[in-house]
């Protein structure tokens, strides 16, 4: 049997000397969608950035395996080339760089070969149609002057173009109004498939009304304290994170 797609094994992470993640364990197989929920300060974004290889986050213990290989010593670009993707909660502006130019470079970098102009254009417009994006969007500068919804849609567009095997989406739902949320979630559903693993990191349960996860986990104070199915998300929605806090203490 081949190795699982993605394994987080006893991951401990320090930020500026303080331990934020205190032993996280999680396995994602191909075709699975996992939701990771947790209150502010539970370590969700630390986990997302650490998995993608942000140098500010210091791993003190544990392993992260992608297709059986430990990726923790690899820089972010190498992780991306091996099939990882992170959808950012706060995508960064790159002034003067057009979306289509950036995407072309990203596709070239992650797939190791330059796509032909016509093929790239065709693919880009297909994916944009899938995400209900106007073509003129590709001529804008990356994230510059984008609304919250446009930024998140741009993240999903990048995922669509790069076709990662393991996608981590960090609060892709935050800051979206209900229409934007629906269309972003629709896009994500279309991209999920039997070969892709997805980890949705979210504070709120509402995106799970559109994307049904196979598993739900609750991160609290740097550890996964509960795992279950959709019913766990609903219970959280009904009882709030205080409920988990109470449980965690006992």
């Amino acid at each position: 049997m081949s190795a699982p797609l993605f394994v987080i094994d006893d991951l401990h992470v320090n930020v500026e000397g303080k331990e934020i993640l205190k032993g996280v364990n999680l396995t994602v197989e191909r075709g699975e969608v996992h939701a990771l929920m947790g209150p502010n300060g539970s370590g969700k974004s630390t986990l997302a950035h650490t998995l993608m290889g942000h140098p500010r986050f210091e791993v003190t213990q544990g392993r992260v395996l992608l297709k059986g290989e430990d990726i923790l010593s690899l820089p972010a670009d190498e992780r991306a080339r091996r099939g990882m993707f992170l959808g950012f909660q706060y995508p960064v502006e790159i002034p003067g760089v057009k979306v289509r130019h950036f995407l072309r470079m990203a596709v070239k970098a992650s797939k190791g070969e330059e796509p032909s102009v016509t093929e790239f254009r065709k693919q880009l417009f297909e994916k944009m149609a899938l995400l209900e994006m106007d073509r003129s969007f590709s001529e804008r500068y990356v994230n510059e002057g984008f609304s919250g919804g446009e930024k998140k849609r741009n993240e999903i567009l990048q995922m669509a173009m790069l076709e990662p095997e393991m996608a981590i989406l960090d609060e892709t739902d935050s800051g979206l109004d209900i229409d934007a949320l629906r269309s972003v979630a629709n896009g994500m559903n279309k991209l999920a498939g039997p070969h892709t693993g997805m980890l949705l990191i979210t504070h709120y349960q509402r995106i799970l009304n559109y994307i049904a996860p196979h598993f739900v986990h609750v991160l609290f104070a740097g550890r996964i304290v509960r795992s279950g199915g959709m019913e766990l998300a609903q219970e959280l929605e009904a009882k709030g994170y205080d409920w988990i806090a109470g449980k965690a203490v006992t």
């Binding site: 820089p75 670009d77 992780r79 960064v92 002034p95 003067g96 760089v97 990203a106 990048q158």
Partner: protein, 469 residues
């Protein structure tokens, strides 16, 4: 992120531009500056007495003026060691086939004949002190356009020459303008008759080959009413351990309703002091545009100016400077509003990396009576690492209350979050930094003709290579 300095920053420059030819000049004046050397240059060129006398007057001014201390560090220039005149060939030709083999090879490597075939209306090629090749498309010549090297213009069009030479940049303007006036050689002379549109660019290429050379080309452009011209210049040099000096003077006269765009891609090797005086006078409803890319040289001091002399005159400066290891780019613009309803726009973008320093130094001046004048200055600096530096010296002399002046300046450090974002999409750290830089300069690059935009991006990429690990 971790930055690893690569110890061969000039390797690519060396391969593409930094090669040298064995020196086989026809004539080389002895090093150092004297009346004798100046008289010899004038005699060799067979100049009229008035020009020889002007040179000698300029030499006195040069000796008298102190070294400027307000800009970059000029203490490394040894005027006694420089060769002020090196003549490569005995005559100029109009066919590349007639250029001496070794010089032809140099320009082939630099892609000049190919560019001429593909997208230029005329080309001048200067090698050390003299222009060795010059050609203009026939249809422009028949319309009365003159595109000559400046020495030939003095011989063949003495009246036109004398009417304008030194009127925009007087010989005593500054120490290096005086030096140029004393020992000038080569450069471009362009005359565009009334109403003639030169829609395809004319280009001059300046190549320094000899070690310790001083190159002092002199350019004079006259655009008659309603005419249009786009002139482009490029320059490169071999890498030597000893320094070279390039001190050009450029004068541009734009008559009513005319428009001139002057594009420079300065890519000297990093042992060249580039101390250039560029100035235009713009008359009623005319437009002057400087597009100034400064990538090379050890110290670059260049502040192209436009004197807006009559109502409706408009000036633009798009400036791009890249200061790498050991480089100081001290660049900017001077916009002088001397008439009502004149307008000027300055956009400056500078990048500093590996300890390089870039300074924006600019002046906006509005004379009394320049009612309704508008000026805007925008300077953006991007700093790539902690060793590098950027400064802004924006001077304003506003002596007319009814003007509108805007100034904005930003200094940005390349952000780790930007690098991480791009790297998370598979770009290496170097590719990510290069992409950020190319976006930063996009507002200037998009103003270049396509071929030069490609060239500029390629040069920036070269500068970036080996910058970040």
């Amino acid at each position: 992120m971790a930055k690893k300095a690569v110890e061969v920053p000039q390797a690519d420059y060396a391969r593409k531009y930094g090669f040298r030819d064995a020196e086989e000049p026809l004539f080389r004046a002895k090093p150092g500056l004297s009346r004798e050397v100046v008289e010899e240059i004038s005699w060799l060129k067979g100049e009229p007495a008035w020009m020889r006398d002007l040179r000698l007057r300029a030499l006195e001014v040069f000796w008298k003026k102190p070294m400027p201390t307000w800009g970059g560090d000029l203490s490394g220039i040894n005027f006694d060691e420089i060769y002020y005149y090196v003549r490569p060939t005995d005559h100029q030709v109009r066919s590349w086939d007639d250029v001496p083999q070794y010089i032809r090879r140099t320009f082939d490597k630099l892609g000049i004949p190919q560019a001429e075939r593909q997208f230029l209306a005329g080309v001048g090629a200067q090698y050390d002190s003299e222009v060795v090749y010059h050609n203009l498309r026939e249809e422009l010549a028949t319309q009365g356009v003159l595109f000559l090297d400046t020495d030939t213009a003095l011989r063949e069009h003495p009246e036109l020459f004398q009417e304008y030479f030194g009127t925009v940049v007087p010989l005593a303007d500054n120490k290096f303008a005086a030096l140029n006036s004393a020992v000038w050689s080569g450069g471009s002379f362009i005359y565009v008759p009334e109403g003639v549109q030169v829609t395809v660019p004319l280009q001059a290429y300046f190549r320094i080959n000899a070690e310790k050379l001083g190159q002092f080309e002199r350019t004079l452009i006259i655009a008659e009413p309603g005419s249009y011209l786009h002139y482009v210049e490029g320059c490169t040099a071999p890498i030597y351990s000893a320094d070279s000096l390039h001190a050009a003077v450029v004068e541009v006269i734009i008559k009513p309703g005319a428009r001139v765009r002057y594009t420079t891609i300065q890519n000297w090797s990093t042992n060249v002091y580039n101390l250039v005086t560029k100035r235009a006078v713009a008359y009623r409803d005319s437009i002057m545009e400087w597009v100034d890319g400064n990538l090379g040289s050890k110290l670059n001091m260049k502040y192209p100016a436009v004197f807006l002399m009559e109502p409706g005159a408009h000036a633009e400066m798009l400036s791009l400077a890249f200061a790498g290891k050991g480089q100081h780019q001290d660049a900017g613009a001077k916009m002088v509003h001397a008439a009502p309803y004149t307008s000027s726009v300055v956009v400056s973008k500078s990048i500093s990396k590996d300890g390089g320093r870039s300074s924006y130094r600019g002046l906006v001046k509005a004379y009394p009576g320049s009612v309704g004048a508008k000026a805007s200055v925008r300077c953006d600096a991007l700093i790539l690492d902690d060793e590098s530096r950027s400064d802004t010296y924006p001077y304003m002399e506003i002596d007319e209350p009814q003007v509108s002046i805007g100034h904005e300046a930003t200094v940005t450090k390349i952000a780790d979050e930007q690098l991480f974002y791009l790297m998370s999409r598979g770009l290496s750290e170097a590719e990510a930094a290069t992409l950020i830089v190319s976006g930063f300069i996009e507002p200037v690059v998009k103003e270049l003709p396509m071929e030069y935009a490609v060239e500029m991006n390629r040069l920036i990429q070269l500068q970036m290579e080996g910058a970040v690990g």
